[in-house]
Protein backbone atom coordinates (compact mmCIF):
# COMPACT_ATOMS: atom_id res chain seq x y z
CA UNK A 1 0.00 0.00 0.00
CA UNK A 2 2.60 2.52 1.11
CA UNK A 3 4.88 1.40 -1.71
CA UNK A 4 2.14 2.04 -4.27
CA UNK A 5 1.56 5.48 -2.86
CA UNK A 6 5.23 6.34 -3.13
CA UNK A 7 5.31 5.25 -6.74
CA UNK A 8 2.26 7.30 -7.53
CA UNK A 9 3.82 10.39 -6.00
CA UNK A 10 7.01 9.88 -7.99
CA UNK A 11 5.02 9.64 -11.17
CA UNK A 12 3.19 12.91 -10.72
CA UNK A 13 6.51 14.68 -10.44
CA UNK A 14 7.81 13.30 -13.70
CA UNK A 15 4.49 13.28 -15.50
CA UNK A 16 4.65 16.68 -17.27
CA UNK A 17 7.77 15.67 -19.15
CA UNK A 18 6.97 12.08 -19.91
CA UNK A 19 3.27 12.01 -20.52
CA UNK A 20 3.16 13.38 -24.09
CA UNK A 21 6.00 11.13 -25.25
CA UNK A 22 4.87 7.79 -23.96
CA UNK A 23 1.40 7.67 -22.47
CA UNK A 24 -0.71 9.17 -25.28
CA UNK A 25 -0.86 6.20 -27.67
CA UNK A 26 -1.99 3.42 -25.37
CA UNK A 27 -5.24 5.00 -24.10
CA UNK A 28 -6.07 5.83 -27.71
CA UNK A 29 -5.70 2.19 -28.74
CA UNK A 30 -7.65 1.08 -25.68
CA UNK A 31 -10.44 3.44 -26.66
CA UNK A 32 -10.71 1.81 -30.07
CA UNK A 33 -10.84 -1.68 -28.60
CA UNK A 34 -14.54 -1.66 -27.71
CA UNK A 35 -16.16 -0.32 -30.94
CA UNK A 36 -13.79 -2.07 -33.34
CA UNK A 37 -13.92 -5.31 -31.40
CA UNK A 38 -17.73 -5.24 -31.29
CA UNK A 39 -17.92 -4.56 -35.03
CA UNK A 40 -15.59 -7.46 -35.82
CA UNK A 41 -17.49 -9.85 -33.52
CA UNK A 42 -20.81 -8.84 -35.07
CA UNK A 43 -19.43 -9.32 -38.57
CA UNK A 44 -18.25 -12.83 -37.62
CA UNK A 45 -21.55 -13.65 -35.92
CA UNK A 46 -23.57 -12.74 -39.00
CA UNK A 47 -21.20 -14.47 -41.46
CA UNK A 48 -21.18 -17.70 -39.51
CA UNK A 49 -24.97 -17.60 -39.27
CA UNK A 50 -25.03 -17.21 -35.49
CA UNK A 51 -27.11 -14.05 -35.95
CA UNK A 52 -29.43 -13.02 -38.73
CA UNK A 53 -28.33 -9.40 -39.01
CA UNK A 54 -31.55 -8.31 -40.72
CA UNK A 55 -32.41 -5.48 -38.31
CA UNK A 56 -28.81 -4.87 -37.26
CA UNK A 57 -26.76 -5.25 -40.43
CA UNK A 58 -23.08 -6.17 -40.17
CA UNK A 59 -20.36 -3.57 -40.80
CA UNK A 60 -19.64 -4.87 -44.32
CA UNK A 61 -23.25 -4.22 -45.35
CA UNK A 62 -23.20 -0.72 -43.87
CA UNK A 63 -19.94 0.01 -45.68
CA UNK A 64 -21.46 -1.22 -48.94
CA UNK A 65 -24.51 1.02 -48.44
CA UNK A 66 -22.27 3.96 -47.69
CA UNK A 67 -20.13 3.48 -50.77
CA UNK A 68 -23.25 3.00 -52.89
CA UNK A 69 -24.74 6.25 -51.55
CA UNK A 70 -21.42 7.95 -52.17
CA UNK A 71 -21.12 6.53 -55.69
CA UNK A 72 -24.53 7.66 -56.94
CA UNK A 73 -24.07 11.11 -55.43
CA UNK A 74 -26.93 10.80 -52.93
CA UNK A 75 -24.65 10.99 -49.92
CA UNK A 76 -23.15 14.30 -51.01
CA UNK A 77 -26.58 15.71 -51.90
CA UNK A 78 -28.07 14.89 -48.52
CA UNK A 79 -25.01 15.79 -46.49
CA UNK A 80 -24.76 19.11 -48.31
CA UNK A 81 -28.40 19.95 -47.61
CA UNK A 82 -27.98 19.17 -43.94
CA UNK A 83 -24.70 21.03 -43.68
CA UNK A 84 -26.22 24.09 -45.32
CA UNK A 85 -29.07 24.09 -42.80
CA UNK A 86 -26.76 23.71 -39.83
CA UNK A 87 -24.47 26.42 -41.20
CA UNK A 88 -27.31 28.89 -41.75
CA UNK A 89 -28.95 28.14 -38.40
CA UNK A 90 -25.62 28.26 -36.57
CA UNK A 91 -24.65 31.56 -38.15
CA UNK A 92 -27.99 33.13 -37.26
CA UNK A 93 -27.93 31.68 -33.77
CA UNK A 94 -24.37 32.84 -33.09
CA UNK A 95 -25.18 36.34 -34.29
CA UNK A 96 -28.37 36.65 -32.26
CA UNK A 97 -26.95 34.95 -29.18
CA UNK A 98 -23.74 36.96 -29.13
CA UNK A 99 -25.46 40.29 -29.77
CA UNK A 100 -28.04 39.67 -27.06
CA UNK A 101 -25.38 38.50 -24.60
CA UNK A 102 -22.77 41.16 -25.27
CA UNK A 103 -24.82 44.34 -25.14
CA UNK A 104 -25.86 45.52 -21.71
CA UNK A 105 -29.05 47.13 -22.99
CA UNK A 106 -30.02 44.03 -24.94
CA UNK A 107 -29.32 41.93 -21.84
CA UNK A 108 -31.57 44.02 -19.64
CA UNK A 109 -34.26 44.02 -22.29
CA UNK A 110 -34.10 40.38 -23.30
CA UNK A 111 -32.77 38.42 -20.36
CA UNK A 112 -36.02 37.89 -18.45
CA UNK A 113 -37.81 36.83 -21.62
CA UNK A 114 -34.99 34.54 -22.74
CA UNK A 115 -34.69 32.98 -19.30
CA UNK A 116 -38.40 32.25 -19.53
CA UNK A 117 -38.20 30.85 -23.05
CA UNK A 118 -35.27 28.72 -21.98
CA UNK A 119 -37.66 26.46 -20.10
CA UNK A 120 -39.33 25.49 -23.39
CA UNK A 121 -37.64 22.58 -25.19
CA UNK A 122 -36.75 24.14 -28.52
CA UNK A 123 -38.26 21.24 -30.47
CA UNK A 124 -41.65 22.30 -29.10
CA UNK A 125 -41.46 25.30 -31.42
CA UNK A 126 -41.37 23.09 -34.50
CA UNK A 127 -45.13 22.87 -35.24
CA UNK A 128 -45.54 26.59 -34.71
CA UNK A 129 -42.60 27.41 -36.96
CA UNK A 130 -44.04 25.22 -39.71
CA UNK A 131 -47.35 27.02 -39.36
CA UNK A 132 -45.71 30.44 -39.47
CA UNK A 133 -42.80 29.90 -41.81
CA UNK A 134 -43.95 27.07 -44.02
CA UNK A 135 -42.71 23.54 -44.48
CA UNK A 136 -39.57 24.46 -46.43
CA UNK A 137 -36.14 25.77 -45.48
CA UNK A 138 -37.15 28.84 -43.45
CA UNK A 139 -38.82 26.94 -40.64
CA UNK A 140 -35.95 24.47 -40.44
CA UNK A 141 -33.24 27.13 -40.28
CA UNK A 142 -35.30 29.08 -37.73
CA UNK A 143 -35.61 26.03 -35.50
CA UNK A 144 -31.88 25.38 -35.62
CA UNK A 145 -31.12 29.05 -35.01
CA UNK A 146 -33.32 29.10 -31.90
CA UNK A 147 -31.65 25.96 -30.61
CA UNK A 148 -28.17 27.39 -31.21
CA UNK A 149 -28.83 30.95 -30.02
CA UNK A 150 -29.90 30.08 -26.47
CA UNK A 151 -26.78 28.27 -25.28
CA UNK A 152 -24.60 30.84 -27.02
CA UNK A 153 -26.49 33.66 -25.39
CA UNK A 154 -26.12 32.06 -21.98
CA UNK A 155 -22.46 31.25 -22.62
CA UNK A 156 -21.64 34.78 -23.75
CA UNK A 157 -23.48 36.20 -20.76
CA UNK A 158 -21.70 33.92 -18.32
CA UNK A 159 -18.33 34.61 -19.92
CA UNK A 160 -18.74 38.38 -19.72
CA UNK A 161 -19.90 38.25 -16.13
CA UNK A 162 -16.95 36.01 -15.26
CA UNK A 163 -14.28 38.43 -16.52
CA UNK A 164 -12.05 39.52 -13.66
CA UNK A 165 -12.80 43.15 -12.86
CA UNK A 166 -9.22 43.59 -11.71
CA UNK A 167 -7.96 42.93 -15.23
CA UNK A 168 -10.38 45.50 -16.62
CA UNK A 169 -9.05 47.97 -14.08
CA UNK A 170 -5.55 47.53 -15.51
CA UNK A 171 -6.98 48.47 -18.90
CA UNK A 172 -8.65 51.53 -17.39
CA UNK A 173 -5.42 52.57 -15.70
CA UNK A 174 -3.87 52.57 -19.19
CA UNK A 175 -6.74 54.84 -20.27
CA UNK A 176 -8.56 52.29 -22.40
CA UNK A 177 -12.30 52.58 -22.68
CA UNK A 178 -15.22 51.53 -24.82
CA UNK A 179 -14.26 49.73 -27.97
CA UNK A 180 -10.53 49.55 -27.24
CA UNK A 181 -11.19 48.03 -23.82
CA UNK A 182 -13.57 45.50 -25.36
CA UNK A 183 -11.16 44.54 -28.12
CA UNK A 184 -7.94 44.39 -26.13
CA UNK A 185 -9.17 42.99 -22.83
CA UNK A 186 -12.79 41.87 -22.77
CA UNK A 187 -12.70 39.85 -25.98
CA UNK A 188 -9.54 37.83 -25.28
CA UNK A 189 -10.61 37.28 -21.68
CA UNK A 190 -14.02 36.03 -22.77
CA UNK A 191 -12.81 33.87 -25.65
CA UNK A 192 -12.17 30.55 -23.84
CA UNK A 193 -15.67 30.51 -22.36
CA UNK A 194 -17.13 31.74 -25.60
CA UNK A 195 -15.57 28.88 -27.55
CA UNK A 196 -17.17 26.41 -25.15
CA UNK A 197 -20.52 28.11 -25.78
CA UNK A 198 -19.95 27.95 -29.54
CA UNK A 199 -19.15 24.26 -29.36
CA UNK A 200 -22.22 23.38 -27.34
CA UNK A 201 -24.25 25.58 -29.71
CA UNK A 202 -22.88 23.70 -32.69
CA UNK A 203 -23.68 20.38 -31.04
CA UNK A 204 -27.26 21.49 -30.51
CA UNK A 205 -27.37 22.70 -34.10
CA UNK A 206 -26.70 19.14 -35.24
CA UNK A 207 -29.37 17.86 -32.87
CA UNK A 208 -31.98 20.24 -34.16
CA UNK A 209 -31.24 19.66 -37.81
CA UNK A 210 -32.32 16.04 -37.36
CA UNK A 211 -35.55 17.13 -35.72
CA UNK A 212 -36.13 19.69 -38.46
CA UNK A 213 -35.55 17.15 -41.20
CA UNK A 214 -37.83 14.61 -39.52
CA UNK A 215 -40.63 17.15 -39.85
CA UNK A 216 -40.69 16.76 -43.57
CA UNK A 217 -37.81 17.20 -45.96
CA UNK A 218 -37.07 15.96 -49.42
CA UNK A 219 -33.33 15.90 -48.87
CA UNK A 220 -30.86 15.85 -46.01
CA UNK A 221 -29.40 13.19 -43.75
CA UNK A 222 -32.52 13.32 -41.56
CA UNK A 223 -34.59 12.60 -44.66
CA UNK A 224 -32.28 9.67 -45.39
CA UNK A 225 -33.09 8.29 -41.94
CA UNK A 226 -36.87 8.66 -42.32
CA UNK A 227 -36.70 7.23 -45.83
CA UNK A 228 -34.77 4.20 -44.55
CA UNK A 229 -37.26 3.68 -41.77
CA UNK A 230 -40.21 3.70 -44.15
CA UNK A 231 -38.55 1.36 -46.64
CA UNK A 232 -37.07 -0.91 -43.96
CA UNK A 233 -33.41 -0.29 -44.75
CA UNK A 234 -31.49 -0.47 -41.45
CA UNK A 235 -28.10 -0.32 -43.18
CA UNK A 236 -29.02 3.07 -44.61
CA UNK A 237 -30.09 4.29 -41.17
CA UNK A 238 -26.82 3.34 -39.58
CA UNK A 239 -24.96 4.79 -42.55
CA UNK A 240 -26.78 8.12 -42.07
CA UNK A 241 -26.08 8.06 -38.33
CA UNK A 242 -22.39 7.44 -39.01
CA UNK A 243 -22.28 10.36 -41.42
CA UNK A 244 -23.90 12.53 -38.74
CA UNK A 245 -21.22 11.44 -36.31
CA UNK A 246 -18.40 12.18 -38.75
CA UNK A 247 -19.80 15.58 -39.77
CA UNK A 248 -20.53 16.60 -36.18
CA UNK A 249 -17.08 15.64 -35.00
CA UNK A 250 -15.41 17.25 -38.04
CA UNK A 251 -17.21 20.58 -37.71
CA UNK A 252 -16.40 20.63 -34.00
CA UNK A 253 -12.74 19.90 -34.73
CA UNK A 254 -12.70 22.65 -37.39
CA UNK A 255 -14.14 25.10 -34.88
CA UNK A 256 -11.52 24.14 -32.30
CA UNK A 257 -8.74 24.37 -34.88
CA UNK A 258 -9.96 27.79 -36.04
CA UNK A 259 -9.70 29.31 -32.57
CA UNK A 260 -6.66 27.34 -31.41
CA UNK A 261 -4.15 30.07 -32.37
CA UNK A 262 -5.97 32.50 -30.06
CA UNK A 263 -6.03 30.07 -27.16
CA UNK A 264 -2.43 28.97 -27.27
CA UNK A 265 -1.82 30.52 -23.86
CA UNK A 266 -4.29 28.04 -22.39
CA UNK A 267 -2.30 25.06 -23.66
CA UNK A 268 0.74 26.21 -21.75
CA UNK A 269 -1.45 26.69 -18.75
CA UNK A 270 -2.54 23.06 -18.92
CA UNK A 271 1.06 21.95 -19.47
CA UNK A 272 2.53 23.83 -16.57
CA UNK A 273 -0.21 22.72 -14.25
CA UNK A 274 -0.22 19.10 -15.26
Amino acid sequence: MSEARLLAAGETIEAPVRRPARGSLRPLLLGFLLPVGAAILWEIAVRTGLAQGRLAPPPSKIAATLSELAANGDLWLHARATLARVAAGFALGVLAGALAGASRVARALLDPTLQGLRAIPSIAWAPLFILWLGIFETSKVALIAVGVALPIYLGTLGAILAVDRKIIEVGRSFRLSGFALARRILLPAVLPHYVIALRSGLGLGWMFVVAAEFMGASEGLGYLLVDAQQLGKPAQMIAAILVFAVLGKTTDALLVAAVAPFLRWQDTMANTEA
Binding site: I167, E169, S173, F174, R175, I185, F262, T268, M269
Partner: protein
Protein backbone atom coordinates in the same frame (compact mmCIF):
# COMPACT_ATOMS: atom_id res chain seq x y z
CA UNK B 1 4.35 67.30 -8.19
CA UNK B 2 1.51 65.09 -6.95
CA UNK B 3 -0.75 66.92 -4.52
CA UNK B 4 -3.77 65.95 -2.47
CA UNK B 5 -5.82 68.99 -1.48
CA UNK B 6 -8.42 68.34 1.24
CA UNK B 7 -9.31 65.02 -0.35
CA UNK B 8 -12.16 63.06 1.15
CA UNK B 9 -13.95 59.93 0.03
CA UNK B 10 -17.28 58.64 1.26
CA UNK B 11 -18.64 55.48 -0.31
CA UNK B 12 -22.22 55.05 -1.40
CA UNK B 13 -22.71 52.86 1.67
CA UNK B 14 -22.02 55.90 3.85
CA UNK B 15 -18.65 54.61 5.03
CA UNK B 16 -16.13 57.41 5.15
CA UNK B 17 -12.79 56.09 3.91
CA UNK B 18 -10.83 59.34 3.76
CA UNK B 19 -11.26 62.64 5.55
CA UNK B 20 -9.49 65.85 4.57
CA UNK B 21 -6.21 64.42 3.30
CA UNK B 22 -3.59 67.04 2.46
CA UNK B 23 -0.29 65.82 1.10
CA UNK B 24 2.25 67.07 -1.43
CA UNK B 25 4.67 64.64 -3.00
CA UNK B 26 7.77 66.20 -4.56
CA UNK B 27 9.36 65.45 -7.89
CA UNK B 28 11.39 62.21 -7.69
CA UNK B 29 10.42 61.72 -4.09
CA UNK B 30 9.60 58.31 -2.66
CA UNK B 31 6.72 58.43 -0.21
CA UNK B 32 5.44 55.38 1.63
CA UNK B 33 1.95 55.33 3.11
CA UNK B 34 1.51 52.91 5.98
CA UNK B 35 -1.32 52.09 8.32
CA UNK B 36 -3.56 49.28 9.51
CA UNK B 37 -5.94 47.75 6.99
CA UNK B 38 -9.05 49.86 6.61
CA UNK B 39 -7.20 53.15 7.11
CA UNK B 40 -7.97 54.21 3.54
CA UNK B 41 -4.44 53.97 2.18
CA UNK B 42 -5.50 51.90 -0.82
CA UNK B 43 -8.42 54.22 -1.43
CA UNK B 44 -5.98 57.13 -1.52
CA UNK B 45 -4.00 55.36 -4.22
CA UNK B 46 -7.08 54.48 -6.27
CA UNK B 47 -8.12 58.12 -6.24
CA UNK B 48 -4.66 59.19 -7.42
CA UNK B 49 -4.83 56.55 -10.15
CA UNK B 50 -8.13 58.02 -11.33
CA UNK B 51 -9.88 54.68 -10.84
CA UNK B 52 -12.28 56.18 -8.28
CA UNK B 53 -13.49 59.76 -7.87
CA UNK B 54 -12.95 61.71 -4.69
CA UNK B 55 -16.06 62.92 -2.88
CA UNK B 56 -14.37 66.18 -2.02
CA UNK B 57 -11.13 68.03 -2.61
CA UNK B 58 -8.71 67.77 -5.51
CA UNK B 59 -5.81 65.64 -6.64
CA UNK B 60 -3.39 67.27 -9.05
CA UNK B 61 -0.41 66.06 -10.96
CA UNK B 62 1.78 68.94 -12.16
CA UNK B 63 -1.20 71.21 -11.61
CA UNK B 64 -3.42 69.05 -13.79
CA UNK B 65 -6.51 67.75 -11.97
CA UNK B 66 -6.79 63.95 -11.84
CA UNK B 67 -10.38 62.99 -12.59
CA UNK B 68 -9.68 59.89 -14.67
CA UNK B 69 -6.56 57.77 -15.25
CA UNK B 70 -3.85 60.28 -16.11
CA UNK B 71 -1.10 59.66 -18.68
CA UNK B 72 1.59 60.88 -16.27
CA UNK B 73 0.58 58.36 -13.59
CA UNK B 74 1.14 54.61 -13.61
CA UNK B 75 0.02 52.02 -11.10
CA UNK B 76 1.18 48.60 -9.92
CA UNK B 77 -1.33 46.58 -7.96
CA UNK B 78 -0.93 44.09 -5.16
CA UNK B 79 -1.42 41.23 -7.65
CA UNK B 80 0.50 41.24 -10.94
CA UNK B 81 -2.74 41.33 -12.96
CA UNK B 82 -0.95 40.27 -16.12
CA UNK B 83 -2.96 39.50 -19.23
CA UNK B 84 -2.92 35.71 -19.43
CA UNK B 85 -3.47 35.70 -23.20
CA UNK B 86 -0.40 37.82 -23.93
CA UNK B 87 3.23 36.75 -23.67
CA UNK B 88 5.49 38.50 -21.20
CA UNK B 89 6.82 40.83 -23.91
CA UNK B 90 3.30 41.59 -25.17
CA UNK B 91 2.18 42.34 -21.63
CA UNK B 92 4.99 44.81 -21.19
CA UNK B 93 4.24 46.38 -24.57
CA UNK B 94 0.54 46.74 -23.75
CA UNK B 95 0.52 50.46 -23.03
CA UNK B 96 2.83 51.43 -25.91
CA UNK B 97 0.99 49.59 -28.69
CA UNK B 98 0.65 52.86 -30.60
CA UNK B 99 4.43 53.24 -31.02
CA UNK B 100 6.25 52.03 -34.16
CA UNK B 101 7.36 48.45 -33.88
CA UNK B 102 11.06 49.16 -33.54
CA UNK B 103 10.64 51.70 -30.73
CA UNK B 104 8.24 49.38 -29.01
CA UNK B 105 10.57 46.43 -29.12
CA UNK B 106 13.50 48.50 -27.95
CA UNK B 107 11.58 49.83 -24.96
CA UNK B 108 10.25 46.39 -24.04
CA UNK B 109 13.77 44.98 -24.23
CA UNK B 110 15.07 47.71 -21.94
CA UNK B 111 12.20 47.22 -19.49
CA UNK B 112 12.67 43.45 -19.36
CA UNK B 113 16.40 43.90 -18.95
CA UNK B 114 15.68 46.30 -16.11
CA UNK B 115 13.73 43.70 -14.16
CA UNK B 116 16.22 40.97 -15.04
CA UNK B 117 13.80 38.88 -17.09
CA UNK B 118 15.01 39.52 -20.64
CA UNK B 119 15.13 35.77 -21.32
CA UNK B 120 11.47 35.37 -20.35
CA UNK B 121 10.10 37.59 -23.14
CA UNK B 122 8.24 34.79 -24.93
CA UNK B 123 6.87 33.01 -21.87
CA UNK B 124 3.22 33.03 -20.91
CA UNK B 125 2.36 34.69 -17.59
CA UNK B 126 1.15 31.35 -16.22
CA UNK B 127 4.68 30.01 -16.41
CA UNK B 128 6.06 32.73 -14.10
CA UNK B 129 6.59 32.62 -10.36
CA UNK B 130 4.87 35.21 -8.18
CA UNK B 131 8.00 37.35 -7.93
CA UNK B 132 8.66 37.17 -11.67
CA UNK B 133 5.06 38.09 -12.47
CA UNK B 134 5.23 41.12 -10.20
CA UNK B 135 8.47 42.19 -11.87
CA UNK B 136 6.72 42.02 -15.23
CA UNK B 137 3.88 44.10 -13.80
CA UNK B 138 6.49 46.64 -12.72
CA UNK B 139 8.06 46.60 -16.19
CA UNK B 140 4.61 46.98 -17.79
CA UNK B 141 3.93 50.08 -15.69
CA UNK B 142 7.38 51.62 -16.19
CA UNK B 143 7.53 51.10 -19.95
CA UNK B 144 4.90 53.83 -20.31
CA UNK B 145 7.41 56.16 -18.59
CA UNK B 146 5.06 57.56 -15.97
CA UNK B 147 6.19 60.69 -14.13
CA UNK B 148 4.60 59.27 -11.00
CA UNK B 149 4.22 55.58 -10.17
CA UNK B 150 1.69 54.38 -7.60
CA UNK B 151 2.34 51.04 -5.92
CA UNK B 152 -0.44 49.35 -3.96
CA UNK B 153 1.19 46.89 -1.54
CA UNK B 154 3.14 45.58 -4.51
CA UNK B 155 5.30 43.06 -2.66
CA UNK B 156 2.98 41.99 0.13
CA UNK B 157 2.06 38.68 -1.51
CA UNK B 158 5.70 37.63 -1.88
CA UNK B 159 7.97 35.73 0.47
CA UNK B 160 10.56 37.65 2.49
CA UNK B 161 13.51 36.84 0.19
CA UNK B 162 11.71 37.79 -2.99
CA UNK B 163 10.32 40.89 -1.33
CA UNK B 164 13.73 42.24 -0.29
CA UNK B 165 15.01 41.42 -3.76
CA UNK B 166 12.21 43.35 -5.45
CA UNK B 167 12.60 46.31 -3.11
CA UNK B 168 16.23 46.62 -4.18
CA UNK B 169 15.23 46.20 -7.81
CA UNK B 170 12.59 48.90 -7.48
CA UNK B 171 15.22 51.32 -6.16
CA UNK B 172 17.57 50.45 -9.01
CA UNK B 173 14.81 51.07 -11.55
CA UNK B 174 13.80 54.27 -9.82
CA UNK B 175 17.36 55.56 -10.10
CA UNK B 176 17.11 55.57 -13.91
CA UNK B 177 14.25 57.95 -14.63
CA UNK B 178 13.57 58.91 -11.02
CA UNK B 179 9.79 58.95 -11.20
CA UNK B 180 7.86 60.07 -8.15
CA UNK B 181 6.87 56.98 -6.17
CA UNK B 182 3.86 56.73 -3.91
CA UNK B 183 3.93 53.35 -2.23
CA UNK B 184 1.21 51.91 -0.02
CA UNK B 185 2.39 49.18 2.32
CA UNK B 186 1.66 47.64 5.68
CA UNK B 187 5.28 46.60 6.10
CA UNK B 188 7.09 49.17 8.22
CA UNK B 189 10.50 47.85 7.27
CA UNK B 190 9.63 48.17 3.58
CA UNK B 191 8.63 51.78 4.12
CA UNK B 192 11.88 52.49 5.98
CA UNK B 193 14.05 50.84 3.35
CA UNK B 194 12.50 52.71 0.44
CA UNK B 195 11.00 56.02 1.41
CA UNK B 196 12.12 59.61 1.83
CA UNK B 197 9.00 60.21 3.86
CA UNK B 198 6.64 57.81 5.57
CA UNK B 199 3.02 58.90 5.88
CA UNK B 200 1.23 57.20 8.76
CA UNK B 201 -2.55 56.87 8.46
CA UNK B 202 -5.22 56.09 11.03
CA UNK B 203 -8.65 54.65 10.29
CA UNK B 204 -12.30 55.70 10.94
CA UNK B 205 -12.15 57.89 9.00
CA UNK B 206 -8.84 57.64 7.16
CA UNK B 207 -6.60 60.53 8.17
CA UNK B 208 -2.92 61.33 8.15
CA UNK B 209 -1.68 60.83 11.72
CA UNK B 210 2.01 61.59 11.25
CA UNK B 211 4.67 62.12 8.64
CA UNK B 212 8.16 60.76 9.25
CA UNK B 213 11.10 62.13 7.35
CA UNK B 214 13.95 59.70 6.73
CA UNK B 215 17.27 61.36 5.99
CA UNK B 216 19.45 58.25 5.69
CA UNK B 217 20.96 57.71 2.26
CA UNK B 218 19.87 54.82 0.07
CA UNK B 219 20.55 51.97 -0.31
CA UNK B 220 19.90 51.34 3.36
CA UNK B 221 21.37 48.31 5.02
CA UNK B 222 18.55 46.45 6.74
CA UNK B 223 21.06 45.05 9.25
CA UNK B 224 22.89 48.30 10.09
CA UNK B 225 22.71 49.73 13.60
CA UNK B 226 21.24 53.00 12.30
CA UNK B 227 18.46 51.12 10.53
CA UNK B 228 17.52 49.39 13.78
CA UNK B 229 17.36 52.75 15.50
CA UNK B 230 15.26 54.14 12.69
CA UNK B 231 12.88 51.25 13.05
CA UNK B 232 12.65 51.70 16.82
CA UNK B 233 11.95 55.39 16.33
CA UNK B 234 9.26 54.64 13.74
CA UNK B 235 7.55 52.07 15.94
CA UNK B 236 7.55 54.59 18.78
CA UNK B 237 5.95 57.26 16.60
CA UNK B 238 3.40 54.73 15.41
CA UNK B 239 2.51 53.92 18.98
CA UNK B 240 3.39 50.29 18.41
CA UNK B 241 6.04 50.20 21.12
CA UNK B 242 4.07 48.57 23.86
CA UNK B 243 2.36 45.89 21.76
CA UNK B 244 5.68 45.13 20.09
CA UNK B 245 7.36 44.68 23.46
CA UNK B 246 4.53 42.60 24.87
Amino acid sequence: MLTFEHVSKTYATGAQALDDICLGVEEAEIVAVIGASGCGKSTLLRLAAGLDRASGGRIRVDGDEVAAPHPAIGIVFQEPRLFAWLTVAQNVAFSIAHLPRRDREARVAVALEGVGLADHADRWPRALSGGQAQRIALARALVARPRALLLDEPFSALDAFTRADLQDQLLALWADARPTLLLVTHDIEEALVLADRVVVMRPHPGRIAAILKIEAARPRDRLAQEFEELKREALRVLGLGRSAAA
